[in-house]
Subunit: 203 residues, 2 copies
């Protein structure tokens, strides 16, 4: 992991911007060599190939998102509604500011859907990322959501979390087009308001 | 519009599959010429260029979706909840079966987000399509949703419709990956259940 010259970070920066701008197919290891000014050997010393590099770029994005989530742990005694609302708004703001991050995730989604050999590789990358997110968020969720602790209300809880996750994806898709930042936040709060966090199921 | 040999339809079929498989950038008019076996002149006689062709492909998809919606008009006296639930499930089923249709819409979304000259063209295409959908669905909606008639409850109604539209996009994104057909339908019904269609606001 030692990288005193910051070569790995530099590669990741260049690759991030190329994958976002040109998509997965439109990005080549050669073009990254050219843009970083490194030798081909130096690039391959850090990353075995394009799919490994793309996975590393996405991993760094996910770490950034998790970081902003894990901070939530520090606000002890926070209610479920406020937790979900604020964390969601934070994600919306982060992605609003960062069009490249949105492009990276949509690139992953679309290539996975496209299928073939590359699609399968990217589907595996997506699965691993989701695994990482879940492993890191699980302890936070159990801290904040009482229902996650006793397992009693898993069914409805799980459905609520899934509904909000998919709604978030749909919101992110429209950011900057049919949705500005304030409308996105407002819509998120409106949706949260549909769930009765005080009901017996969610206690 | 006369096209006795079905040349236009043939071009649209080939273009649909190429845009879905290779994306917008990865598809060229030359490759479509090759796959259709037509002359370049014949292709350009029907379509001025790639963006016009892509718009026509998407337009045909939207017409198909609208058709399955407009049928709804025939079920007079249908309640709001049942209308939203069944129409949503129909869309989910349609897209579940048709991976290419999903790819076409995601291609539009991602290229629009990518920006640049092509992004702006595709953003305009997306805007036009949304305009067509809204113009056609508006009379249906006013038939089924009483609140659309008097304009009284527009705010909350609009937010509900938007929330469900974005949730639908998020569901479609995950179809075949973290979501099979039955789970997608179940999630849709669960989300619909969060809205109290019998409340005063929605009367």
């Amino acid at each position: 992991m030692s990288d005193p010259c910051g070569t790995r970070d530099k590669i990741l920066e260049v690759a991030r911007s190329q994958f976002a701008r040109n998509g997965y197919h439109g990005t080549s290891m050669d073009a990254i060599v050219k843009d970083t000014g490194l030798s081909k050997g130096a690039l391959y010393w850090h990353f075995d190939g394009k799919s490994e590099l793309f996975a590393a770029v996405l991993r760094r994005e996910v770490d950034g998102i998790i970081h902003s989530h894990v901070e939530a742990l520090r606000e002890k005694g926070e209610g479920v509604r406020s937790f979900v609302t604020l964390r969601g708004e934070r994600i919306i703001e982060m992605l609003w500011k960062d069009r490249e991050m949105r492009l990276l995730f949509f690139t992953l989604f679309i290539e996975r859907l496209r299928g073939g050999q590359e699609g399968r590789e990217l589907s595996e990358i997506a699965g691993n990322l989701l695994g990482i997110i879940q492993a890191k968020l699980w302890p936070v969720a159990r801290e904040v959501f009482p229902a996650f602790r006793d397992g009693e209300a898993r069914g409805d809880y799980q459905r609520m979390v899934t509904t909000l996750r998919f709604l978030m994806n749909g919101i992110i898709m429209e950011l900057g087009f049919n949705l500005d930042l304030d409308s996105a936040r407002e819509l998120w709060r409106f949706a949260i308001g549909r769930f009765d966090f005080e009901s017996e199921v969610f206690k």
